[in-house]
């Protein structure tokens, strides 16, 4: 489903887009890292992750092209098996992996996967943000680690079908430009935690069929449908908007509008929702704070009223600052 097109039609276009400058630079950097049969990339894998193994003097780079994502996935699995049997270093450039997400297959394309001489597999993620004096932006590294963790999970599925199952390394290689240059440098990132979190979240996801089952008959998200019909269709799927969605989902602005219209306090942030107890809308909270509703014995309500009284007192005090002021 093309969520960006859908968001456009709903009148809440997503703000996502990629600058061609970033694209050009990212592609140029990736090409540079993988140039020459991946010699530089394999050197980095060898030095950062597997210095005990033989140096990657010659590595095989199998051709992974095939028809359609299913074909490429099968081709990747075959190439992985052959690489394990053959021993030595193998670089898989843009392999394709499949992962079961809530009952439907999602196809993933890591930047590269390296097969070590001992038969173990490493995910390689190439990013164009710089590693400055050995450290990179933690937020971006975190995002890259979460992304790689998904690849690790998908690779583990492939590995589990082999006998004996090869080891998928839980330390991935993050390749970035060094300082202000375009020269690659790399760092091993341990993604065990991200892998565990993702695995748990995937296991807990509601199956797509179950969600589809609750929708009214004939619900359709094709962007060529009339806008009202689309709005109704999107409405029929429950969404729990939080501000974090803005950086992740194309439909976030649509959901934010809905969430604000409903007066949901979560639209101001999840932590804020947590401290308000059972009160979930702006008006509920404010009327409880004013003492017009709510159970005074409820600790959340009592705390709110106390906070409202203190706030009013402080603002009044500031308004008449010339009046004697014990605290200040």
């Amino acid at each position: 489903m093309d969520k960006a097109a859908l968001a456009d039609r709903l009148g809440a276009p997503s703000g996502f887009g990629q600058s061609q400058f970033a694209l050009t630079r990212g592609n140029a950097f990736e090409a540079k890292v993988k140039a020459d049969g991946g010699a530089e990339l394999l050197r980095l894998v060898h030095s950062r992750l597997d210095p005990g193994a033989e140096p990657p003097a010659k590595a095989s780079v199998p051709d992974l092209s095939a028809h359609g994502p299913e074909g490429r996935t099968a081709r990747t699995a075959l190439a992985l098996r052959e690489a394990v049997d053959a021993g030595g270093w193998t670089l898989l450039d843009h392999p394709m992996l499949a992962l079961d997400v809530a009952g439907s297959l999602a196809f993933l394309e890591p930047d590269a996967v390296v097969v070590h001489p001992d038969g173990s597999w490493t995910v390689v993620e190439i990013k164009s943000f710089p590693m400055l004096d050995g450290s990179a932006d933690p937020a971006k590294v975190g995002a890259a680690a979460r992304q790689s963790a998904v690849y690790v999970l998908a690779l583990e599925d492939v590995a589990a079908r082999l006998d004996p199952a090869p080891r998928v390394r839980h330390r991935v290689l993050l390749v970035c430009p060094r300082d202000f240059s375009n020269l690659p440098t790399a760092s091993a990132v341990d993604v065990r935690k991200q892998r565990a979190v993702t695995a748990r979240q995937l296991a807990r996801l509601t199956r797509v069929e179950d969600i589809a089952g609750t929708l009214p008959e004939g619900t359709c998200f094709a962007p060529d449908r009339p806008a009202e019909e689309l709005t109704a269709a999107v409405e029929s799927v429950p969404a729990a908007y939080a501000p974090e969605c803005l950086s992740a989902c194309e439909l976030a602005f649509h959901c934010r509008g809905r969430s604000r219209a409903d007066g949901a306090v979560t639209s101001l942030g999840r932590p804020l929702r947590a401290e308000l107890g059972g009160l979930s809308t702006v008006e509920d909270v404010l009327s409880a704070a004013r003492g017009e509703s709510g159970d005074p014995d409820d600790p959340a309500v009592a705390a709110l009223r106390r906070a409202a009284a203190l706030r009013a007192e402080a603002l009044a005090q500031a308004a008449g600052r010339e009046v004697a002021d014990p605290c200040h």
């Binding site: 970033a22 943000f129 401290e275 203190l310 706030r311 500031a318 002021d325």
Partner: protein, 544 residues
């Protein structure tokens, strides 16, 4: 976030206007700040695209890099930036006053007072957003290890003079911005959201235009030709307009405060303009005679002007927004302790001025263990200082501390004179206070109140009746003078309104750290002889 701040946000949602989150201004605003609104090229590690910089809102200096991949053009940009920033910094470095500092005498090891210079005021840098702070640090890092032709005649691609110096200053300012409560380098979105609570999440508050829309929504008649709606808008509507509204060409009406640009701008406008500039430059270089060169030079300057106009069209709205934000902040009265924190900023500025004058090398890439530990300790100490001072300066902040049980306000219902036991009895009056607050008081807990700007300590004796009644007895223990009778006004009297805090008002320094030469082996051992840091290696495709 405290419940009080949460309430303020919810009220902002309900009223459609930002609500006060502070009643005084907790940061210093210089009379003549240097505003710096940078833009970068997407995908490059902070390769500058342009900037507006200046101390006068009507006289911004526009700096543009027409081809951000070109090293010479980048150097020209940095040199121009240095021409604006360094004279500004210098203008504050000369005006000094005498001050005293305690130093350890190297010969006797005693603490002695030394007469030193302290700059009377310090220059202040303002950037629009937190990403701007990071960019200042990045610029500082990229410049401070550069070598000029004078420093190293052999260096490939020598940097223009003064560029490494600018790098050291920007690094200093970037580091200082990490110290809580400092005002040398401020990100406007941070300062604004410290003082106002909007009806959106703190994530969305990072957008300067949206933040200002909540605090000071444009009047209903604002620029109808630009498509702004006619009726009065709520903060939410105005903020959404600032975030998302696009013109007929698909460009944001309120461009992001940067330093990153909107991808639609990059792809539709900037990329073709830069391409045109590249073509004009190639053509100019290939010109065969003077007449042809003249024509092509004209085409080249036209192409360059086009890029400049585009960049200006993106930074100008942010430039105006920054000054608007500064006006809003200036309208708030300054908190009582801001001056004291600003003095620390002046010390910081003076200290770096002296290090530069003394010819010390640029800040290293990585701090040694002792420096790092000192920085961390300073930040922690300044954080507690800031929290205490903000509460003392601002009843709204104090309200949050009272709600959290870290302070209480009430009325004195009784004051009884008592004396300490011992050879020379001193006054230890017992004061009974009735409060509606619920302080978390342990037995014999120390509490403090502000008495003429100095903290007076008291000891919690116990509750009169049940703790729920809120009647508590305190024993005042200091600031009553040397005599047997307390000095007048130093003991609260019946009927006085008082406010005590459970936290200390002044921060004591932590344990002293060893000298760098004494660094224990657990922290890497002594750093050894300082080696000058090597400049970054220069490659063909550098971005800064």
């Amino acid at each position: 976030m405290s419940l009080i701040a949460t309430l303020a946000r919810l009220e902002a949602v309900s009223t459609g206007r930002a609500q006060p989150a502070a009643t005084v201004r907790h940061r210093r605003l210089s009379d003549r700040p240097l505003v710096f609104v940078p833009l970068t090229t997407a995908g490059e590690a902070g390769a500058p695209l342009g900037a507006l910089v200046g101390t006068d809102r009507d006289a911004a200096r526009l700096l543009v890099v027409p081809q951000p991949r070109d090293r010479d053009l980048r150097f020209a940009f940095l040199a121009e930036l240095a021409d604006v920033v360094l004279p500004y910094l210098d203008s504050y470095a000369r005006d000094v006053e005498a001050a005293e500092r305690t130093e350890t005498d190297p010969e006797t090891g005693k603490r002695v007072k030394v007469e030193v210079e302290l700059c009377a005021d310090a220059p202040q840098l303002i950037v629009p957003s937190r990403a701007g702070l990071d960019f200042v640090r990045l610029l500082g890092r990229s410049m401070r290890f550069r070598r000029t032709a004078e420093q190293d005649p052999e260096a490939p691609h020598p940097a223009p003079p003064r560029v490494p110096l600018l790098g050291r200053w920007l690094t200093h300012y970037g580091e200082r911005a990490r110290v809580p409560g400092s005002s040398l380098l401020l990100a406007l979105t941070d300062v604004l959201s410290r003082h106002w609570a909007t009806g959106q999440s703190s994530l969305e508050d990072q957008h300067l235009g949206a933040l200002l829309a909540w605090i000071d929504p444009p009047p209903p008649s604002a620029s109808p030709e630009q498509g702004a709606p006619q009726r009065a808008r709520t903060g939410a509507e105005a903020a959404q307009w600032a975030e998302l509204a696009r013109d007929d060409e698909g460009q944001l009406r309120c461009p992001p405060a940067g330093p990153a640009t909107d991808p639609a701008f990059d792809n539709k406008l900037l990329a073709p303009a830069i391409e045109r500039y590249d073509r004009a430059r190639t053509a100019f270089a290939a010109a065969e005679d003077a007449v042809q060169a003249d024509d092509r030079l004209a085409a080249l300057s036209a192409a360059e002007q086009h890029v400049r106009d585009l960049v200006e069209s993106r930074v100008r709205p942010t430039w105006d927004a920054v000054w608007q934000g500064l006006d809003l902040l200036r309208a708030l009265p300054e908190g009582a302790h801001v001056e004291e924190r600003w003095t620390r900023d002046r010390w910081s500025f003076t200290g770096h001025r002296d290090r530069v004058l003394a010819g010390e090398p640029p800040q290293p890439r990585r701090d040694d263990a002792v420096t790092a530990a000192n920085k961390l300790a300073t930040r922690e100490r300044e954080q507690s200082r800031l929290e205490a001072q903000e509460a003392l300066d601002d009843p709204l902040v104090m309200a949050g501390r009272r709600l959290a049980g870290e302070a209480f306000a009430g009325e004195v219902t009784d004051a009884v004179m008592a004396y300490s036991e011992g050879r020379r009895p001193s006054p230890r009056p017992l004061v009974t206070v009735r409060t509606d607050d619920r302080p978390h008081l342990a037995e014999r807990a120390k509490v403090y109140r502000s008495l003429g700007g100095k903290p007076q300590a008291a000891e919690f004796v116990g509750y009169e009746g049940a703790p729920e009644d809120g009647v508590l007895v305190l024993r005042i223990v200091d600031k009553m003078g040397r005599g047997k009778e307390p000095e007048p006004g130093s003991v609260p009297e019946k009927g006085d309104a008082v406010c005590f805090t459970l936290f200390e008002h002044e921060q004591r320094g932590g344990a002293k750290l060893p000298d760098p030469e004494e660094t224990p082996w657990t922290h890497g051992g002594p750093p050894g002889e300082a080696v000058p840091e090597a400049p970054d290696t220069v490659t063909v495709e550098d971005v800064l």
